[in-house]
Symmetry: C2
Subunit: 193 residues, 2 copies
């Protein structure tokens, strides 16, 4: 079990969270194994937990009116997996999170996170910095969709998610960069780098 907490523990330690406050976190959270294909959070559901991915890979996607799925992000190991806006607003999730591989997450109840922030300045800071990271990603993605060509968006994907092109089916990458699978395949054939 301890194995799955290791990365997060290192991050908490770098964030000056003292042992006592870290132990309270470990006591009140749990390790959860999530099989490939399982929905961790589903569109329309209330969101009671935040997650940290210790192993495996998730995708976050919207389902459009015509049934198509639109990937807005991926969460590999050592990354957060969360419908954060819905959780803090007490609203249903507007997107779905699916395990793309057999995965392991740390499950963090929202009330536990709030209690840790109430009693520990350093936990408050840790969450503040984590939200900043989520925000900066959204800013980056907004800019990428505005400025970059499909090829450049593919390269930005490779840079942001090293190695994921080997773990994710090409049609899922196409959905993330906003082109059809056929267009992406043509693009990569014509300019393989």
């Amino acid at each position: 079990m301890q194995l799955y907490y290791r990365s997060l523990e290192k991050m908490a330690h770098q964030g000056s969270i003292i042992d006592q406050d870290w132990n309270r976190f470990v006591e009140q959270t749990r390790v959860r194994h999530v099989q490939q294909g399982t929905y961790l959070i589903e569109t329309g559901e209330p969101v009671k937990h935040a997650y940290f991915c210790s192993k495996g890979l998730f995708r976050l996607f919207y389902t459009l009116a015509d049934g198509r799925e639109y990937n807005v992000g991926f969460s590999p190991e050592d990354d957060y997996v969360t419908s954060y806006g819905a959780m803090v607003q007490g609203k249903p999730s507007t997107f779905t999170i699916e395990a793309m591989e057999d995965s392991v997450v740390i499950e963090i109840p929202h009330h536990v996170l709030k209690e840790l922030m109430d009693t520990s300045h350093m936990w408050e800071r840790f969450v503040r910095k984590s939200v900043e990271r989520l925000y900066i990603r959204k800013e980056e993605r907004e800019r990428e969709l505005l400025y970059l060509s499909a090829r450049e968006r593919y390269d930005a994907f490779l840079l942001k998610y090293p190695g994921l092109d080997k773990r994710v089916a090409q049609y899922h990458i196409a959905s993330y960069i906003g082109v059809s699978p056929v267009s992406l395949s043509r693009l990569l054939r014509s300019d393989p780098h």
Copy 2:
């Protein structure tokens, strides 16, 4: 001067920031008058300050390769005006912020914000909640662009920014909702509500 701090003071008070910590904030920040048409932050510039709009109105926009401007948001009174991602990462701003009316802001040096967060848990919380607000807006906008028709995006604009349709030229609203000025004008004629 005190007048321009009033809204932010109320928010800080609601955030349980004690008088002493609020006074430190007032002492280390300043009121700045910004004339209509002035750029508060320019694309490519380093970002050393966050701002709070006490009076007036700003727009945040990207300049596309063909010279067109793309509005990503507005900041009316009692709202933050900031290139937050650039500031915390120490990077140049990727967008420009322009005063659309004669405006007044509270200018907050980044190092002051950091020092307040270092010494006050409640300031840390205040900033955490402010970043959450920025993040939630980006999530909302992403969803609006994916799901809503041009007309629905216009209605969402009215809802998010009450009264701004009277203060902002229609071509700026068109740029925000992602249609041409001609399309928006046609849309509003055909379905004025």
